[in-house]
């Protein structure tokens, strides 16, 4: 995937998040404060603007611009988390003019690690990490970028479902305790939407 392909892909990713604003807010209403969709929309609208402004960018530039915009405009937990995801991940793409399977897997691995560090969480705490971390692992097995992305998307989707059975131990859902059971984590759903859209463009 060239830098321009990555640009097109990330514009589609942003659009997918924007299109799902209500689904994401509704998921957050069940376990948090109901604003995950509007926060993600703010971040990804800013990301769209930032990415659009790039002329023949490298894959790294696209990812970094997205992350920086999301971090600045998203706000909340998700602005910091998804901003960190793209900014940290972009670093492994430095100096590469194409995004390939190995690069993508590395991108997710580094992003997942950075997010866990920033958030002070590990898997099993009912966060977006429960979609991102398994996606990073799964993507490593792909023999092509398309396959990597497909595996990542599938793992993320399974991760979303897995959060349904987890007790939240961080973020606004934490205090729900047992009552968080049966609900998916909205941030995990965002990860799944992002990876699913990437797969569809691969």
């Amino acid at each position: 995937m060239t830098g321009d392909d990555v640009k097109a892909m990330m514009l589609a990713v942003a659009q997918a998040i924007i299109d799902n604003v209500d689904v994401l807010s509704e998921a957050d209403r069940a376990t948090g404060d109901g604003d995950h969709g509007v926060g993600m929309r703010r971040g990804f609208e800013a990301a769209q603007d930032a990415i659009m402004a790039l002329q023949s960018p490298t894959p790294e530039q696209v990812m970094k611009a997205a992350g920086t915009a999301i971090m600045a405009k998203g706000g909340g937990a998700s602005g910091a988390i998804f901003g960190t995801l793209f900014r940290a991940g972009s670093k492994v793409l430095e100096g590469k003019d194409r995004l390939d399977a190995a690069g993508f897997a590395q991108f997710l691995a580094v992003a997942s690690e950075a997010v866990q560090k920033r958030g002070g969480v590990i898997t099993g705490q009912k966060t977006m990490v429960d979609a991102l971390a398994p996606a990073a692992v799964a993507s490593a097995d792909g023999s092509s970028l398309a396959e990597s992305m497909s595996r990542a998307a599938q793992a993320a989707e399974a991760g979303v479902e897995a959060t349904r059975h987890m007790l939240a131990t961080t973020g606004k859902a934490r205090s729900l305790g047992e009552r968080s059971l049966g609900h998916i984590d909205p941030g995990a759903l965002s990860v799944s939407i992002i990876l699913r859209t990437m797969r569809d463009r691969a």
Binding site: G32, G34, D35, V38, M71, G76, G83, R118, R179
Partner: protein, 334 residues
């Protein structure tokens, strides 16, 4: 689900328009970094250790309304119920910095923690020293062994009051930090929700509560509390809130506290005064004296009906800063 009726223009512009209105309401005492949620006092003396507070919007008058004399020097305000991003925090920090470092004082939420931490890292790169104090007063959120899992709610008002005085009167950042940490360590709160607030942008209540239900321990963004139950009397609710608060504080007969009852939005002052009556009966029973009482809507959760009770154990030092006159758009006391 009934759609809440709000007096807004374009809902997505609500926070931006609110900021404009807030700056105007300060009649020159507070400015903002154009186009951001970064607010600052216009009269910060040189060489002052700066106090920067902040958090999501939607809790007005906190945080922006607490920028003022003997209160905060600046505030970094995010969108409704969303921590400000690092950019906003950095802008606010630069606007209030007077060369002697900045104290970040905010409520303990994952979003705030991460964004303020990122900002602190960025400011550190610029050579600006920051110290971080997180308010963790909500006893409903976690047991004492897991202090860091506790949310910051309306007890923050009292901590900001103390912090504002200390950061004005003292020069040494470490000394100021020590006093603020003591204030933070001495405050405990608990809330109850009677009906939900709603987000301007989605037009939806953040939770659903039956017509005869309340949720004890509810957080300031509608986070779940410790118990959902049938509506009971004001005295019963108050008993249920005071027990965990007092159980979590090492108060002895003869101790003095400052008491704050915070309106989450739509409750009437009448109800809160009836609650105050019961709070005082309980404190009198335990031989605890109230040095001063504040009751009002300072840390709201949009139009949520309900309230929280906060107690801060006082010593001579804290009392001094609680009693200092302070003045801002959203909170004044003489």
């Amino acid at each position: 689900m009934k759609t809440p009726k709000k007096i807004l223009n374009e809902p997505r512009q609500a926070t931006a328009e609110m900021m404009e209105g807030l700056i105007l309401a300060n009649d020159g005492r507070v400015g903002r970094v154009e186009g951001t949620g970064a607010l600052f006092r216009t009269a910060i003396p040189d060489g002052k250790v700066a106090l920067l507070i902040g958090g999501g919007s939607g809790h007005e008058p906190i945080f922006g309304g607490f920028v003022g004399h003997n209160l905060a020097d600046g505030a970094a305000c995010g969108e409704v119920f969303a921590a400000p991003g690092p950019d906003t925090i950095c802008e606010a920090a630069r606007a209030v910095h007077r060369g002697k470092g900045i104290i970040f004082l905010y409520c303990n939420y994952a979003g705030d923690n991460m964004n303020f931490d990122i900002a602190a890292e960025l400011l550190g790169d610029e050579g600006i020293e920051t110290r971080t104090i997180r308010v963790r007063d909500d006893v409903a959120a976690a047991p004492p062994e897991r202090m860091d899992d506790r949310r910051g709610i309306a007890g923050a008002v009292l901590v900001v009051k103390v912090a504002g005085g200390a950061a004005t009167e003292l020069k040494d950042i470490a000394e100021i930090e020590r006093i603020i940490r003591k204030a933070e360590a001495n405050v405990r709160s608990m809330g109850v929700a009677v009906s939900a607030g709603s987000l301007p942008e989605t037009g939806k209540p953040t939770f659903e509560l039956g017509d005869d239900e309340i949720e004890v321990g509810m957080g300031a963004h509608g986070e779940a509390g410790v118990k959902r139950q049938k509506m009971v009397s004001a005295d019963d609710i108050t008993n249920q809130m005071m027990e965990p608060i007092l159980g979590d504080m090492a108060l002895a007969k003869g101790d003095e506290v400052v008491l704050l009852i915070n309106n989450l939005g739509a409750s009437t002052m009448m109800e809160l005064l009836i609650v105050n009556r019961r709070v005082r009966q309980i404190l009198t029973r335990d031989g605890i004296a109230v040095h001063r009482t504040f009751i009002g809507p300072w840390f709201t959760s949009q139009e949520m009906a309900g309230f929280s009770i906060s107690l801060m154990k006082l010593d001579a030092e804290l009392k001094r800063y609680i009693d200092l006159p302070s003045s801002s758009f959203g909170f004044s006391s003489l």
